[in-house]
Amino acid sequence: MNTLLEVRDLCKTYHKQSGWFSQRSVIALQNISFTLAEGKTLAIVGETGSGKSTLAKLLVGIEKPDSGDILLAGQPVKISHYRQYNHVIRFIFQDAAKSLNPHQKIGQMLDDVLRFSTVLDAQQRKLKIRQTLKQLGLLDEHSEYYPHMFSGGQLQRVALARALILDPKLLILDEALTALDPSLRAQIVNLLLELQQKSGLAYLLITNHLRLVRHIADDLLVLHQGTALDYGNTAHVFSNAEHDYSRKLINSAIA
């Protein structure tokens, strides 16, 4: 199995102004390392403030690490090259609705994504949009819809369409499944599993939803106050977590 993403000793500290003259530092991430192979799923779990969002920001390229490396298929990733690897890594956030422009039709939005990042001509883009909508169980007509015309679950599919239309290798899901109702969640999970099997897509799942993690993640990393506690095969961590904190987290979900 080829390694797709490798993260080595990632560190990040924030300096917050507290009062006029003093600064407070918060260590958001401390020596985080992990690898993710093609076609695999890694779940990162932890409470708010554990560093999950910081990690996502570093991977997205919104923020720079203080030290450490992010390697994509063996190549170091630089923020200045963000646009170059923006095909390969795509993101979906919890609030799909908020990240869509309410005044733009869905078809137009997808077309923009393609124009910005590929060299396809108008005809090819049209075909690609149609294929992607179909893949996600949406209809051709939906191209003509504005975001407010979709239900919450359909919007989540639209967000997936936007992420998948560039045929990425890695999809980062930041709590993107949490607020869905169970039957919709099951549909999306099945879709993700199918895509993974067909095209070797890898997922980085940032979430609190441990029950789901157990079902879909190959590996699991528990973050707590910026450090990695347990890291390994999901089933193994679920049954043999070394740290009290991880055990507590796991028990709260399955007890």
Partner: protein
């Protein structure tokens, strides 16, 4: 005694193209001290029902019912301010959107103290201020906030989601309500806090005999913390009864799909295998299918299903399906 007893609740929205019926003839009842779960697909009308009960829907919505009894008294037949008074005194709600309940411009202490009604403070008037403060601190402890000093002086934006949610619960229970409605109280929270909150709601129910209407997507928690259950699909009640018996043997194909879609209820399911899911998605209210609303997605649909099924009952178990999963012959 029945605390809440609603028959054929219908909620319609006035639009330029006519009325849209978002909730269609739903029955709902709660006994004193009962905890009922309300589940259903996104957009099925759960929040609308909750808001109709506490009377916070705006004027664009029309609420009607054959019966809307609270402690034996029909609320819809009371004058408006009388209605507000009864609801304000007896029913409290925790909203899906935390922003609805906390005022971002006021410190927690102020908001919490305001939520405590005068008649619950026992003591002479000159001690009221002191008693109110004690009570506010007590409420915070009750919802599991230990560090009351710091929290009381904070503004909502300075606190985490979890703490804000706990404060909302503290405010909701401040007036010692007879009914607490919690609309997805834990979606924004991490799993350790989620479990804590569900336990808190349950204990509140046991200690004080408060009834709880719990709306949630977390079916595992619903199964654990509620005694009875109502399942909605597309604005209609499809199944209702005791939680344990429904989870064990659902009669309605939608409920069945809901339960089977949760990996936790499928102990033999291998990791990374597909979950059970109905095809398609909930229809839009403007284009409802004829007959049973689940029809186009239902694996058991037959030609009889173009007629709308009625709500039938078998002992205390209600369902609305022509072909319940027990098979008619067992009835």
């Amino acid at each position: 005694m029945l605390l809440l007893d609603i028959k054929n609740l219908t909620i319609e929205l006035k639009t330029p193209d006519g009325l849209i019926r978002a909730v269609d003839r739903v029955n709902l009842s709660l006994r004193e001290g009962e905890t009922r779960g309300l589940v259903g697909e996104s957009g099925s009308g759960k929040s609308l029902i909750a808001k109709a009960i506490v009377g916070v829907l705006n004027k664009r919505w029309l609420v009607s019912a054959d019966r809307f009894n609270w402690c034996g008294q029909d609320l819809l037949r009371l004058p408006y301010d009388q209605q507000r008074k009864v609801i304000g005194r007896d029913i409290a709600m925790i909203y899906q959107e935390p922003s609805r309940s906390l005022d971002p411009t006021a410190a927690i202490l102020e908001q919490l103290e305001e939520a405590i009604p005068d008649h619950l403070l026992e003591g002479p008037w000159w001690k009221r201020g002191y008693l109110r403060r004690r009570k506010a601190i007590g409420l915070l402890h009750k919802v599991g906030v230990r560090d009351h000093q710091a929290v009381l002086q904070s503004y909502p934006y300075q606190l985490s989601e979890g703490v804000c949610q706990k404060i909302m619960i503290a405010m909701a229970i401040a007036k010692a309500p007879k009914l607490l409605i919690a609309d997805e109280p834990t979606t924004a929270l991490e799993s350790t806090t989620q479990a804590q909150l569900f336990r808190l709601l349950a204990s509140f129910n046991q200690l004080k005999g408060t009834s709880v209407l719990l709306i949630s997507h977390e079916l595992e928690s619903i199964a654990r913390y509620t005694q009875s259950l109502s399942v909605l699909y597309c604005g209609q009640l499809v199944e209702a009864g005791e939680t344990a018996s429904i989870i064990k043997q659902p009669y309605h194909p939608y409920t069945n799909a809901l339960i089977k879609s949760v990996p936790e209820f499928q102990p033999n399911l291998q990791p990374k295998t597909p979950l059970y899911a109905l095809p398609g998605s909930i229809p839009v209210l403007q284009h409802l299918p004829i007959g049973c609303r689940l029809g186009p997605r239902c694996p058991n649909a037959r030609k009889e299903c173009v007629k709308t099924p009625t709500l039938d009952r078998l002992q205390n178990h209600y369902y609305s399906c022509h072909f319940p999963l027990i098979g008619k012959k067992d009835l």
